[in-house]
Amino acid sequence: MTNSVFDPVALRSDFPIFQRTVRGGARLVFLDSGATSQKPRSVLDAERNFYENHNAAVNRGSYLLAEEANAAYESARQSVADFLNGKFEEVIFTKSATESLNLLAYSFGNSQSSSKFAVKPGDGIVVSEIEHHANLIPWQQLAKRTGAELSWFSVTPEGRLDLSNIDQVITEKTKIVAITHQSNVLGTIIPLAEIVKRAHAVGALVVLDACQSVPHFSIDVAALGIDFLAFSGHKALGPTGIGVLWGRSELLSEMEPFLTGGSMIESVTMTDATWAPIPRRFEAGVPNMAQAVGLEAALKYLTEVGMERVHGHELDLTASALSQISDIPGVKVVGPLDMKDRGGVISFTVEGVHPHDVGQVLDSFGIAVRTGHHCAWPLMRRMNVVGTTRASFYLYNTEDDVVALVDGIRSVQKYFGV
């Protein structure tokens, strides 16, 4: 990785998977990074090095390997904190963003009624129609369990969050506003500052689902002014099985634990237990150490490339794809048609061809896209589609991939005679 020009073709050689071919020898055109990203060699090497040289249970041994494992694991925590501009003890390792968001919902649900985190009948929880199921169902369930009321921002036909009624959606009763930074379907980036301002004005906590933003552009939790943030390692060049919950330390340190067990305790009797300080309080059991180490390598890789360049490159590809795709007759982009507040995700429908069939034909040319409801079923209904085909871009994609996609869509139309 050099610091000179950004060269996605050169960079692809860091990702072993691009050496393989797919259906019938086709080049792999991977346009599904919104679901999961490919991994550079340095991430795989970091994990392997952990297992081959430093593998031992953290927090638990006083021998050399355990010391090294501990140092590796806690260094990963510091790297995540640095990447987000947060503090060391504010970074909790989970298995995924899904777990991070559930952790919050369960921790709030576990609070004593006297706690400021307690959610009570009449309290409000606010989400939006663009939520991924992972940032919707945990809050539905919390609302059901506590008697709180779930309300939401709706989406404009163009695919923007409608904040026109923000003062009616976020009210004095609102305790939690849980919202997605960038839609995994539409690519829309939300007007976060306005939401944070209103939420904090009424004393509500802001939970940011940053699954689609942390991997793609530089995030500064302090500057955003949010209270909690969740993302998944596997979408950010990291291993599977690792996620992050970041939370402001003054909040986390007063919250109830979620998973209980080893390493998260202060002391234990047969009938009772007290909790360790953060971050340990939220990390029960032998953690996903190798995956944390792999995530650190992934963030290091991204940092070396430079998040601005990653983002700039994605925007270039998206702008190009967006204009070419929306020019094809019979193809409709679902989501904003311009590049304002928009990330590297494009959803579209092809008239007369079901998304599943679009995806299948594209696959026959080696093009990997995602089809269906993208775990955002309410949004699908809102946009009046049964599903979409989605292309999502990352640093290893090239203009050739865009060309392949556009040609592919035309072939789909030809194949189905539409």
């Binding site: 069939d357 299948q360 026959s364 699908m380 194949y415």
Partner: protein
């Protein structure tokens, strides 16, 4: 090209001109099934008469495979006895699990053998089975309803 083994002419025909689509009023039972991984949905009305599949009608959204398969299934099973229908269903399920190893028994499956290629695409097997599973569910429920009705009559 492999794709053509998936999208046989017959399938594309059924997709464009599905049979028995549009729900009929006459029904013993109605079921609604979804394929949660892609969001496809089907509503199926089944009319049973004296252990015969008197009618199937259906509606829903889905890909070419699920639509064509449901179209073929309904046309094939209408007029069969329930036990015949179930054995055809078994035959079809077997074909879907064959990983491309079987062409399907045309005597039993008729047009449905056109779906043999689906078995090479694991992610599409559920599409091909959506309508069939809805039928299976409806028929099982319909029969147990009938059974309990009969029992009700006998007891009453």
């Amino acid at each position: 090209m492999d794709l053509d083994s998936l999208y046989q002419e017959v399938i594309l025909d059924h997709y464009k001109h599905p049979l028995h689509k549009g729900l009929s009023e006459e029904k013993t039972i109605q079921v609604h099934h979804v394929n949660p991984s892609c969001g496809d949905e089907i509503t199926l009305n089944l009319l049973l008469e004296a252990n015969m599949v008197a009618d199937i009608s259906w509606d829903g959204v889905g890909c070419s495979i699920s639509q064509a398969s449901t179209s073929i299934m309904s046309d094939l099973l209408i007029g069969k006895s329930i036990s015949e229908a179930f054995s055809i269903l078994d035959e079809f399920s077997g074909l879907m699990q064959s990983k491309g190893g079987s062409k399907g028994n045309e005597e039993v499956l008729e047009d449905a053998v056109a779906l043999a290629g689906v078995s090479k695409f694991p992610a599409r097997i559920k599409c091909a089975l959506l309508g069939w599973m809805a039928f299976k569910d409806a028929a099982s429920q319909g029969m147990s309803d009938e059974a309990s009705n009969k029992q009700g009559e006998e007891n009453g």
